[in-house]
Symmetry: C2
Subunit: 203 residues, 2 copies
Amino acid sequence: MRPAPERRRELLEVAAEVFAAQGYDATTVRRIADAAGLLAGSLYYHFDSKESMLDEILSGFLDDLWSRYDAVLAAGLGPRETLEALVTASFREIDRHRAAVAIYQKESGQLRDQPRFGYLAEAQLRLERAWLRTLESGAASGDFRTDLDVRLTYRFVRDTVWVAASWYRPGGRHSPEETARQYLSMVLDGVALRDRHRRTNKE
Amino acid sequence: MRPAPERRRELLEVAAEVFAAQGYDATTVRRIADAAGLLAGSLYYHFDSKESMLDEILSGFLDDLWSRYDAVLAAGLGPRETLEALVTASFREIDRHRAAVAIYQKESGQLRDQPRFGYLAEAQLRLERAWLRTLESGAASGDFRTDLDVRLTYRFVRDTVWVAASWYRPGGRHSPEETARQYLSMVLDGVALRDRHRRTNKE
DNA sequence: CTCCTTCCCTAACAAGTGTTTGGTAGGTTA
DNA sequence: TAACCTACCAAACACTTGTTAGGGAAGGAG
């Protein structure tokens, strides 16, 4: 009597990988079964629909993400440190849930209208609020520039981070922490050369 | 005897809009027909397959994009001016071909393996080369920082620009030129406050 | 041994898919 | 007038889709 949840997680990982590579709608349930080494109908012993698999993948990822974000936001750091911590946490999440993040990026737009996936819209709103608060308090405290549209800045930071899931490969040249450091350096200081940059790359 | 190509372009625009909103695979040919005000079978008088529509949309967009990029690259500008011109051209392209760009972003990954869409892979390669050359010569000339991984910088710039297609709406608050200016300001100088930024926002 | 549970297979289902075929209303040309 | 072309409709086609029902092999429990 093996522990069932293990097999379940195995299958979900396979499904996530295929969803991320082919897109949710383009992925047939038979293809997931092929990749997992069983037949299409057998998947329905573990899950009650293709949509349930997607649901479980996405909500699992979001739960994980929020537990990390909430920890950062509750730490009471300064705006700049909060931004750094959020970005770093995001890249760690991409490292762990690469497929789920890619799916979220691709399909979230068309899914959030569906009642079952309403939590995607809520999550996006919570995310936006958290980021806007951080950016605004950073502008007030003198950490960030004040001549930029805050909402534009938010989208800029958000997108630059999360699109990375489309090309990032775990175990590649850069660790999530190093990728985060370089991204933060670009987002905060820009790519143009200024006198400081010669050796100010704070470690 | 009205000019046929006009109707053709009309239908392609409708199709592009639906593809962008729902995703290519999730879009049924009947839904396109609905949105265009005719029946599914009638589409096959104008196009010989659903795939052909997608092909025409994407290659049309890429042709347009390259004609603009080539003009910029042939102008012999300095690295920083080239980067600024490329980014501005990109946002103008997003303004004109928003739906096509969104489709390209979403589906290009799964399409480029298909022989018919091989030109997508070629285009991506040409784009990467053009950008890398610009970034490298900018690092050599002292315009850009040298302590960043060039390929990472490339992906950073590329992504930040093109993802904008997922939220940008023509006729919104910001014109493509103004959006480009703000993005360039963030990419080049960063979002962190430095002494200069109080009033150095050139113009 | 028998019973039961877990996990999978075989085989089929109804619904929806992209596409084709034949026809036709209405305008243009001769 | 008749012949023709454009742009569409109506109806069906073969196929794929997600999903279900019934059965069976393997192994632990009594």
